[in-house]
Symmetry: C2
């Protein structure tokens, strides 16, 4: 049974805080193993990749077999049904259209003192995307990571996807093709992250690594951070649904279960001022749960982390949501725009009963890589910006330096940095003498 709370309970605040601080993930300490793998790949390059792939993926590759060839990709993607291909192409096109609007503009202006200031955005040169193998090998995640990189203008886009026992997911290769990926390697785990960060004979290093993965992949990403950029370290996923009485309990139950079926660590939270709706939704969840192919996973998530909170009104619901800062926030209410303006902390908001979170996972257009575990308080989902960086620009005229330089000299002196001051003062002296 999920946790039932009501803001009318005298001990609500403590029970809500306990819910907020529930630890949903046992992070295995794999740091030592990962350090050894990374050191091995740095030392032995391709040879290490072949050994580690044999050991972890039960797959003997030849050095020439680390990369998928064009012919192999064509043979695999030919297996995809026309219907799946069309669905993936629709998703790719909508994701591309959404992310194309994220490209930020360069700026330049000249201020009254004569300083021309601004900034310029440029893409990362090469990006690597990790794609898990097996069960969690999601073609949608390939699109969500690779398309923003391509839209940003990344020149070289690399995928590493393990193929345990040689099993390939043709949809992953098709998604890579649709997204415009340049190179695909059949390696995984910490060894794939090390190869992308440091390079081997076959794989040239990249500048930024994104994509989800297991504990080894996450630890390896933390390890190489600084050498390359990384995206966030994904934690267990969550949805919070705020619903009013007239909403369809079956739909809400399915939305809660869609979150729960991801992972036993996922969390589904329903917040409503309507006690009858809360009970109806819970009954629907219990009815549908046993019928799901992933009933075991969804059931564990619902039992351990499922939460229903009855509030006084929608305003109180919005306030609680902000304290959760959910990855996904569904507003199944009559005026979702108004309610959305009362919340500040959420990775993505789905407005109204006709926008189930699952369309956001695939086809609505926004990214499905979103801040988990309350990190929407301070971070954003994946976007084109993750593959761009800003260079600030400044050009002073001699007069501008004459106007603002003396303040720099003063501040440099107060910080004890004399060469800083001299570098400005020498120019001001020349200016006062009439030139360089």
């Amino acid at each position: 049974m999920p946790l039932h709370l009501s803001t009318a309970q005298p001990d609500f605040e403590q029970r809500f805080l306990d819910m907020l601080s529930m630890k949903r993930e046992d992070a295995a300490d794999v740091n030592e193993a990962v350090s050894a793998i990374i050191a091995d790949v740095r030392e032995r390059g391709d040879e290490a990749l072949l050994d580690l792939t044999g050991r972890f993926d039960r797959l003997q590759l030849a050095p020439g077999g680390i990369a998928f060839s064009k012919a192999e990709i064509a043979a695999e993607t030919a297996k995809v049904s026309p219907e799946d291909r069309a669905a993936l192409a629709l998703a790719a096109e909508r994701i591309r259209a959404y992310h194309a609007r994220q490209i930020p503009e360069d700026m330049e202006w000249t201020d009254p003192e004569g300083a021309t200031l601004g900034w310029r955005w440029t893409p990362v040169s090469a990006a690597g995307l990790y794609v898990p193998g097996g069960q969690a090998s999601y073609p949608s995640s390939v699109l969500m990571n690779a398309i923003p990189a391509r839209v940003a203008g990344v020149e070289r886009l690399v995928i590493c996807v393990p193929t345990p026992d040689g099993i390939v997911n043709p949809l992953v290769l098709l998604a890579a093709e649709l997204a415009g990926v340049d190179e695909i390697y059949r390696i995984g785990g910490a060894q794939a992250i090390a190869a992308m960060a440091y390079g081997t004979e076959t794989i040239r290093p990249v500048d930024k690594i994104t994509g989800p993965g297991n504990a080894y992949v996450a630890a390896a990403k933390r390890h190489v951070f600084g050498r390359v950029g990384i995206d966030m370290i994904a934690g267990p996923s969550e949805v919070l649904i705020i619903a009013e009485g007239e909403q369809n309990p079956e739909w809400l139950a399915l939305d809660l279960l869609a979150q729960a079926e991801h992972d036993a660590d996922a969390q589904s939270i329903l917040v409503t001022p309507d006690d009858a709706l809360a009970r109806a939704v819970v009954a629907e969840v219990e009815r549908i749960l046993p019928t799901l192919p992933r009933a075991a996973v969804a059931g564990a998530s619902w039992r351990d982390y499922g939460t229903v909170i009855v509030t006084r009104d929608l305003d109180e619901a919005a306030k609680l949501s902000d304290r959760v800062a959910p990855e996904h926030l569904e507003l199944c209410v009559s005026d979702p725009e108004a309610l959305s303006r009362k919340t500040r902390h959420a990775g993505a908001i789905f407005l109204g009963g006709w926008t189930p979170e699952a369309v956001g996972d695939y086809v609505s257009g926004p990214n499905h890589v979103l801040p988990t575990a309350r990190s929407a308080r301070f971070s954003s989902g994946l976007s084109v910006m993750d593959f761009l960086k800003r260079t600030t620009m400044a050009r002073l005229t001699p007069e501008a330096l004459g106007a603002i330089g003396p303040a720099a000299v003063r501040l440099a002196a107060s910080e004890g940095l004399s060469a800083h001051g001299l570098s400005v003062a020498a120019r001001i002296r020349a200016l006062n003498r009439g030139g360089a």
Copy 2:
């Protein structure tokens, strides 16, 4: 003597690669000590802060003395000279004006299928800024961290600055006042980071922590990352100057020394097609170096990491600069705009001989917190964006769900996520029946 390279040398490529991979910092392993400090602050709160401040800063505080009072701040800032105050105010105003232009716009549009999409930016609720004590206690860094947070709309802005032996830097307090900081605490080290991340009786927790610090502070920031957001972990600083023959060797020498005086780990690189200029600048450095108050630091940096590279032409210089991806790039050439368009990877670019890097440290307006140690390949300097996060928004009409929902159902099936598919299919069924 600095390293002298020329692209005409037959072994240039290897020597350049060696220079790129020079390790400039010995990161002491303080992880265990930092873990213990963080655990202590989480366990004992203020009491731990008092004990640790006594031990590390040789300062016995009472619980009520952790925060600076308004009267204490007023008494300290009154000590600042009118000239220093005016310089700091000019810097604050220029930094504010530059960063105000960085506020990104919210977006919303409706696509042909009837999906209303977009995103909304909201500020982090509370941010904490770490300011080192003693020698590296820079009022300019207070402005550079606090003003972007304030411009972003952060509601609560906190500073922790240690006061070893009770010594306070009045300019740091004045900078905090000018930037609009709400609370200032006289604690430092890993204990300050722990207090801001987890909270104590006196200090409420924040959502994001920025600011430079020693090895303990850096390790503590890594440790609390995820619980709160952090900015980059700063490494040793560097400047790369591309110069043509007609530039003033003394100015260039001072710019190289301004970088070198920061830290013995700092790196100053001159790249020029003009061998005579290279020799003249080196001679100027040697002449000025002994006259600097920080000659020992600057001399160590110049001796160990200073580098002069003579190239065939400016294009080759720009290509080498991109491989360094310097934190600071000075273009002391006749057409700096044209040359700037040939580079992609730099934290900040200073165009022309009248824009010494030191004005950027204080008064030009752009942020001086910039990506170090080649990380400009994939990251940007501190900005208003670091204190904002993006929430993506989607609202589908029933017709929009009818148009794009079937593709989501298809993709959910291909990924084995049946509740995802059902949550969309149930609504499409209702739509086909004519309503919810």
